[in-house]
């Protein structure tokens, strides 16, 4: 009551006119401003639009995502830039919303006039950004482990302007299937979030399971933001599965696994996850994560000289407690490889970057040597199977290596060739 002294009046025309003029002005000015400020010079920077989930549900991954790219750009500029030009990052926040990715990709291309794009996080975000990049004929460097390329999802995949720097299931899952089956048994319980990445990852993994004579006893998909898992845990308990193959994402993965361990089921089942990197495992804590298996192309704890150098400069820039993960490293590789591509062709154009990236090998990647395949723009990279160490205290002793391949060659993407 006290606050509600609302008076209705006839608008004073002049005040209101000013208001309108101001609003239209603000809208136009805020959107247009940076274009005006642009300046041209001989050593004009090479501008890269980086779209990261800085806010929203997946901020957790966003930090490593953006900082991987920023670190590489720092290193590139420290050694004199590319073709004598510095590299400059223009950041766009995806807010973890595909809708905003469309907005930001357009902003970066049309207004910030970036030379190419890197980032987007989830497959949905990549799908949203891809048509924008395609239409403007810009390269998009995509960093996240994902479900692989399937022609029907063009232009999000199978696109000559998009390059994949993260592993897909035939790299992330297939190499370790035999080991896991021999060690723990042939019966799989598949549980994942209810969307494309887990569904396709499971589909691809099932092919390998079948091939090796294994069996999928159940396949369950959980809607996002499910707090309680009692009925799923009962299904798992009543199944005679040996391995739980886990593709839940975000906070759901933590919710599920806390309850899985609280029910004491980690003693009876082996859990193999292809989603829980350093950040999520830190979030889980030792109690809920120890003894589980994880596979990825990169872990902070892999023993490789490149990784030592990489982590050293990473910690110098972002502090010793900062976390890195597969996605951040993919962004790091993407920046370095784009710089190499530009140097190789001597030109900063979409065609030149594309040509330069194809068949490019980068031997300074934190995980070892990686090669961008010309055929389907999929990175050929190492792959690791790790077990979460009992009673780990930090990312440094979080994972112990069980198996690794230095060159995980994926199946050819299911695209129309040559890429359109």
């Amino acid at each position: 009551m006290k606050f509600n002294k609302n008076r209705r009046t006839l608008l004073s025309r002049r005040t209101a006119l000013k208001g309108i003029a101001a609003t239209t002005g603000v809208a136009a000015a805020t959107l247009a401003a940076p274009t005006i400020i642009r300046r041209a010079s001989a050593a004009e920077p090479i501008r890269v639009g980086v779209i990261s989930p800085l806010t929203g549900a997946w901020t957790v991954y966003g930090r490593a995502h953006a900082s991987g790219f920023e670190l590489a750009v720092d290193e590139i500029n420290a050694r004199g830039g590319v073709l004598g030009r510095p590299m400059e990052v223009v950041l766009g926040d995806s807010k973890t919303e595909p809708r905003i990715v469309v907005e930001q990709a357009n902003r970066l291309i049309r207004q910030a006039r970036v030379d190419f794009l890197a980032g987007t996080f989830s497959s949905a975000e990549r799908q949203a950004g891809a048509p924008v990049a395609t239409q403007a004929n810009k390269i998009l460097l995509y960093p996240t482990f994902y479900e692989g390329q399937e022609g029907e999802y063009y232009p999000g995949v199978c696109n000559k302007n998009i390059f994949m720097f993260g592993p897909e299931p035939t790299q992330q899952v297939w190499p370790f299937m035999e080991y896991m089956m021999n060690k723990f048994g042939k019966k799989f319980f598949l549980i994942g979030s209810d969307y494309v990445w887990p569904q396709v990852t499971n589909l691809v993994s099932k092919r390998k399971i079948d091939e090796l004579g294994g069996e999928v006893v159940a396949e369950v998909y959980i809607p996002f933001n499910t707090p309680q898992y009692d009925s799923v845990l009962r299904d798992i308990r009543n199944s005679d599965a040996d391995i739980i193959f886990h593709t839940l994402t975000g906070s759901d993965t933590v919710n599920f696994r806390q309850q899985f361990v609280a029910a004491g089921m980690n003693k009876n089942f082996t859990l193999w996850t292809v989603d829980d990197e350093e950040v999520v495992t830190s979030g889980l804590g030792p109690q809920a994560s120890e003894g589980t298996y994880v596979s990825f192309d990169y872990f902070m704890s892999i023993d490789h000289p490149n990784n030592k150098t990489f982590l050293k400069s990473f910690h110098t820039k972002f502090g010793k407690d900062a976390l890195m993960n597969t996605v951040g490293v993919a962004m790091y590789n993407a920046a370095h490889m784009a710089a190499l591509a530009i140097e190789k062709t001597g030109e900063v154009s979409t065609d030149a970057i594309r040509e330069g990236l194809e068949d490019l090998t980068f031997d300074k990647a934190p995980q070892g040597t990686v090669t961008m395949r010309k055929l389907d723009h999929q990175l050929v990279l190492p792959s690791f199977l790790m077990r979460v160490r009992k009673g780990w205290t930090s990312v440094n002793d979080m994972f112990e290596e069980i198996q690794s391949v230095t060159k995980a060659v994926p199946l050819d993407a299911r695209c129309k060739y040559p890429l359109q």
């Binding site: 606050f3 509600n4 609302n6 008076r7 209705r8 009046t9 006839l10 608008l11 004073s12 025309r13 005040t15 209101a16 006119l17 208001g19 309108i20 003029a21 609003t23 239209t24 603000v26 809208a27 136009a28 805020t30 959107l31 247009a32 401003a33 274009t35 800085l54 806010t55 223009v90 950041l91 766009g92 926040d93 807010k95 919303e97 595909p98 809708r99 469309v102 907005e103 930001q104 357009n106 902003r107 049309r110 207004q111 989830s122 497959s123 949905a124 799908q127 949203a128 048509p131 924008v132 999802y153 232009p155 999000g156 209810d194 969307y195 494309v196 569904q199 809607p223 996002f224």
Partner: protein, 341 residues
Amino acid sequence: MSALQSTTALQTARRLGVSESGLAIVALVGFALLPIFVSGYTIYILPQYMLYGVMAMSLALLWGYSGILSIGQAGFFAIGGYIIGLSFKWIDFGNPAYIAFVVAPCVGAALAGVLGYFLFRAGVRAAYFVLVTLAVSIIVEQVAVSQSQWTGGWNGMYVPRMSLTLGTGTEISLFDDGPIYYFVLVVVVAIYILLRWLVTSKFGKVLLGIRENEDRVISLGFDASLYKTAAFMMSGALATLAGALYGTHAGFVSPSLGGVLFSTEVVVWVAIGGRNSFLGALLATIVVASLSNYLSAIAPKYWQLVIGVVFIVVIIHFRGGIAGALGRSGAFGKHKRGQDG
């Protein structure tokens, strides 16, 4: 609330309306001339914000003029986006976009009609209705995620950019930023005029009456639940139509378009702009969305906080939002407003 007070409220609204038209014309001229001075991204993105603005106006019709709050408007918006996407996919005769522009509002209105009739008839209180619309938003998002054979699931769906076809053979491409900017502007202006006309019609007066004092309107022999249902249908139809147009402009729709977070963002825009002013809601949406776009790269963390604080302050101190505050600065007369809810 006395009869006298509700008449003054109506009169004020009408008077506000008169001068609002002048402002609307100024805004329209401003937006119409804008492409002469700026180009590129601004002209690309503004139509999307204008369409958010239409969704905001559809909420203002409900909230400001009928006293019903919905936090499920984005659900309708997303349905519109999917309808135009499916229309391009499935329909191979005529202009799929035109068909979507007919089907989308019908579906929106039908859904709102069923839900509204179902709930208002039973006398479900306005406050509960809010929660139901919240659930609608969640259900839309969840269905869009799970029915991936139609919607493309979580990865979303591509929508081609529409063209205008006139009769046979004449086709105007809206592929470039300029043409579709003007097309959207015309649609937004048309919807604005329609809404303004609607609230000054007898229908609108009954709605205002319901907002001020539902029992009194019922005692005058009006079926309040029918009127409320009709307002919800109108609002749902407009939000769905805006969503369809958004789909073809943005080229991409995905489930989170219908989600709770986006739905509540619309409420924030309308509260800030002024729930009793369509122009206020429209312009506030465009400005807040523009600022949000611009500032999110600079200070992503603090921008959301600022919006939250502004929202609370507006609800507490400026019920009429910016439009109301601007009106107040004219310092002409003092009316005490009745309370709703």
